[in-house]
Symmetry: C2
Subunit: 212 residues, 2 copies
Amino acid sequence: MVRTRDRILKAALHLFNERGEAHVSLAQIAARLGISEGNLWYHFRTKRDLVGALFAELEERIERNLSREPAAAGGHLADFGDYARQSFRDIWEYRFLYRHRFDPEEESELAQRAADLAERAHRYTERILTEMVARKLLAATPQEIIELAANAWIISRYWVEYLQERHGLVRITEADLQAGVKQLFALYRPHLTEAARAQIKAHEEPRKLARG
Amino acid sequence: MVRTRDRILKAALHLFNERGEAHVSLAQIAARLGISEGNLWYHFRTKRDLVGALFAELEERIERNLSREPAAAGGHLADFGDYARQSFRDIWEYRFLYRHRFDPEEESELAQRAADLAERAHRYTERILTEMVARKLLAATPQEIIELAANAWIISRYWVEYLQERHGLVRITEADLQAGVKQLFALYRPHLTEAARAQIKAHEEPRKLARG
């Protein structure tokens, strides 16, 4: 039973991402899995139930990403990069949810959980940036750290929507997500210290040599 | 006849902004104006017609803002500020449209016009920033200018959505918009030259004196 449930979620996520949530019916999800609608209905009665379960999956992934201790790791510039890349990966894999609008009446609990997640992500980014300032990798005042974390969130969270609105893209590729990481990095670049720039250079040199 | 049409548009904009487009019916708009539904229907058959007409109004305002010559004005830092403030004002006054999702099939023409507007706004911002670099107010490479313009657009365009998602705000105030201008300024601040900082300081000093 548990396996069927997981298979349904996986198929729903795939179809929602590919075709857009509004264009996918429960019947199509059942058909894709070769199960009866009754079987699907046993696990999820409505599309909203599916959205709720997929949101819970995403929530768990984000919590995992937020549970890593910023001060624990070694090279902090690379760490921060990992955190950002993981965020973009989550957005990519659950991209339909980033276009979903929670109904304030019917889905108020999910909307609240989404707002709570956003709040924790802001705090976490602020902690990473504060740590980077302490390690002299970043130059920013406490006020600038708050502003940077908010701008970083806005750029990351709305990146997929931005691509779709500006370029009319229906399908987003991995390369489009990479471009998002680059945009985010552009936000931080002017705040990096000489030491941080030296780290980047040291990291890039061996690659260039390997290529040349 | 023209006047009734304008009154309908004004009432529709007000109600869409205040209550959300989905929660406003043509009947409510007619009731607010004290006209019959038949009279309203004579001008606009569907809500989609109203959205199209209001989008055309916004488009005209944005075009007006984009038609000002960046190189023509005197103090460029203040000019850029004016342009940003006008953008946030437009977003504020037509805020329901910034939450509206154009249907790719039924509203493909509007979606295309919105994408074209975004494109022109990017180019315009790039021209302003290039001009500021030429006047030694901003330090940025051509590549950084492209990245800055895109980040500026993302922060401005999604600011209202961000407030609503993060803080669950239903009604956005003028102060919330001011906070958006501040966020946008945070993006540019590290790129400002000493000359630009001196301009800001010179601008702030008299105010402080006036207050003190």
